[in-house]
């Protein structure tokens, strides 16, 4: 255990020194959603972009925001609500500005419901986002989808607060 921690520290610390926003990316979603909201879809507000005038920093922040912002769903639904659509519009804008970037859309479910059904539902969720982005003018060939069903929860809790966080599409730049 101790060895593991040392190893983790060795891996994590240099990463932190390089990009301050990297750590925020991981922590932010939990912090932002810890309020008592229940079934509603939600959007995690991105960390404020680091105050820096360099264009490179801004680009990095936009990239971080793209990957940090998840799209959330209601229980047993792959329908994109208004909030989800507005987040996806931002993502479409980023993708059109960064034409070299290809992405993977990861569909996820909460722990309720059976394994196979959630695999199918997770794929539907990823497909919903892909279809929306395609309609916004992003080439479908740039977007792969994968379902993790209920296998990769961000919050291991057994309550609606945790479930709401886990019913999500996560976006990864390849």
């Amino acid at each position: 255990m101790k060895k593991l921690r040392v190893l983790l520290a060795m891996l994590v610390v240099p990463g932190l020194m390089l990009t301050a926003s990297c750590a925020k990316k991981v922590v932010k979603p939990e912090a932002a959603v810890s309020k008592a909201d229940t079934t509603a879809q939600r959007v995690v507000t991105p960390p404020p972009a680091p105050v820096d005038n360099s264009a490179q920093e801004a680009a990095l922040a936009a990239r971080q925001k793209f990957q940090a912002e998840d799209v959330y769903f209601a229980f047993d639904s792959a329908v994109l609500n208004a909030t989800a659509q507005s987040v996806l519009k931002d993502k479409a804008a980023w993708l059109k500005a960064n034409t070299a970037a290809n992405i993977v859309i990861e569909g996820n479910c909460d722990e309720r419901g059976t394994v196979a059904y959630n695999l199918a539902l997770g794929e539907r969720r990823a497909a919903s986002a892909k279809a929306f982005l395609t309609n916004m003018g992003v080439a479908p060939a740039r977007m792969a989808t994968i379902s993790y069903g209920k296998e990769k929860p961000v919050d291991p809790g057994h309550n609606e607060q945790a479930w709401a966080k886990n019913r999500r599409d996560h976006f990864v730049i390849k």
Binding site: T114, A116, A120
Partner: protein, 437 residues
């Protein structure tokens, strides 16, 4: 599959001692009676033929194994050996003193005699009706000393065949998922949770294992190659066929008695159920409706398929005729009904329902949509029901003690108990399907 290997070493030396009678002719055990009275049975330690230490040990272990196996069925009340009047280890196993057994309440009696010569074991097992004072069954098994459990289980299968008309429980296997190694891997264990063997070791995520009727093949979904794909693995030699199509391959279900299976593939952009050969080649497409169609489960005669579809707006269980292709919805209670599995008789479907209170529970419904019964209540989430091939038991997963574990119960929901004790969580049990002869 040690049990299968050992069959060849066994010689049934003597067949019927008593009356020849058709399986199920005796109505000692009516498995269709929900308020079943457990049959009192006496299983004294076997007789060590020469009295050697190894014979004595086998006589005790064998009787205990037989007691545990029969108790597992929930049909028997295994009588306490402390109350026995007769010393079966000294008596002639072929002619018990019936009065001594009826006096202690036994309606059935099993006697045994164990003779050990080197590594060779000769085991003589008999079943008696103590009230009618007659032998119902007699078998002699020979083999290696290490084959004791296989011999006992084969005799138990004979007992159940005689008393209930249904065989196949004691030789059956259950595939399941355990996270004990740190990742979700496929395991296979005996009907009673014994002898769990790890099948996959890819340290990825492996899900929804399904055993073929002969227990030789296990199909499952694995992320081992990055995305969720359908893997079909030979349990013996570990050969794996990956159905490497675009999209996912999920929720496999074997056709009873055949080297064919159904599974959902999403390469068309829509999750549809396909019929595949055991080698992973598509035979034909079975569903054609937009939205989720998953979890094919075939009737024992292979003529009908139960599956889950969202075509009506919520996930519900449908039954499709394999010839005509027409599908009928059979679940109307609740908004989330999944994981259908056929009873081996083909008359009922067990499935998982989401109750209004937010918990998942196990229900049974007639294949005609009539006679809905809920089997689990108010004990965490209960999922993944699977019927034993003899039709007497249902295994399932439950979070009643915290993390997911595998439990077993009678088909009426009685005698719910934990099946395996292993590190990590266990889920998605799937019994090898029964075959209609």
């Amino acid at each position: 599959m040690p049990a299968l290997l050992h069959i060849s070493i066994f010689f049934i030396v003597s067949m019927w001692y008593g009356f020849a009678c058709a399986a199920g002719q005796y109505d000692y055990v009516d498995i269709n009676n929900p308020s079943l009275k457990k049959v009192p049975i006496a299983i004294p330690f076997f007789k060590p033929v020469t009295g050697s230490a190894s014979e004595s040990e086998i006589s005790r272990n064998g009787a205990n194994m037989l007691s545990d196996a029969l108790a597992f069925t929930s049909y028997f009340n295994i009588l306490d050996r402390g109350a026995f009047l007769a010393d079966a280890q000294k008596a002639d196993p072929a002619s018990p003193l019936f009065k001594a057994w009826t006096t202690v309440g036994a309606e059935l009696l099993v006697t045994g005699a164990a003779a050990v010569n080197g590594n060779q074991l000769e085991l003589d097992l008999r079943l008696f009706d103590t009230f009618n004072e007659r032998q119902l069954l007699g078998r002699k098994y020979t083999g290696n000393v290490s084959d004791l459990r296989s011999m006992i289980l084969r005799f138990c299968n004979e007992i159940m065949g005689l008393l209930t008309g249904s065989t196949g429980l004691f030789g059956s296997k259950i595939a399941f998922i355990s996270s004990g190694s740190g990742s979700k891997e496929v395991y296979i264990c005996d009907f009673d949770g014994h002898n769990a063997v790890q099948i996959t070791r890819n340290r990825s995520i492996n899900l929804t294992p399904a055993l073929s009727s002969d227990g030789k093949w296990v199909a499952y979904t694995s992320y081992a190659k990055g995305k969720p794909e359908l893997f079909i693995e030979n349990v013996m030699d570990k050969r794996v066929t990956v159905v490497d199509k675009k999209g996912m391959g999920i929720s496999p279900g074997w056709l009873p008695g055949k080297f064919e299976l159904g599974a959902t593939l999403t390469f068309s952009g829509d999750p549809e159920i396909y019929l595949l050969t055991g080698n992973g080649k598509i035979i034909n497409r079975l569903t054609n409706s937009p939205g989720i169609d998953i979890s094919p489960a075939f009737s024992p005669d292979g003529k009908r398929m139960a599956f889950v579809s969202r075509r009506g707006g919520t996930p519900q269980v449908y039954i499709q005729d394999m010839n005509s292709g027409s599908a009928t919805r059979i679940t109307f209670h609740g908004n989330n009904n999944t994981q259908p599995e056929w009873s081996p008789k083909g008359d009922k479907i067990v499935y998982t329902t989401l109750e209004k209170g937010g918990f998942f529970n196990i229900c049974v419904i007639g294949a005609d949509g009539q006679g809905l019964v809920q089997l689990t209540h108010a004990q965490g989430d209960n999922e993944s029901p699977t019927w034993s091939p003899d039709g007497s038991l249902i295994a399932f997963s439950s979070t009643r003690e915290g993390g997911s574990r595998i439990y077993v119960m009678t088909v009426y929901g009685a005698d719910q108990r934990k099946l395996v004790s292993m590190p990590g969580t266990q889920s998605e049990p799937r019994w090898s399907p029964g075959v209609t002869n």
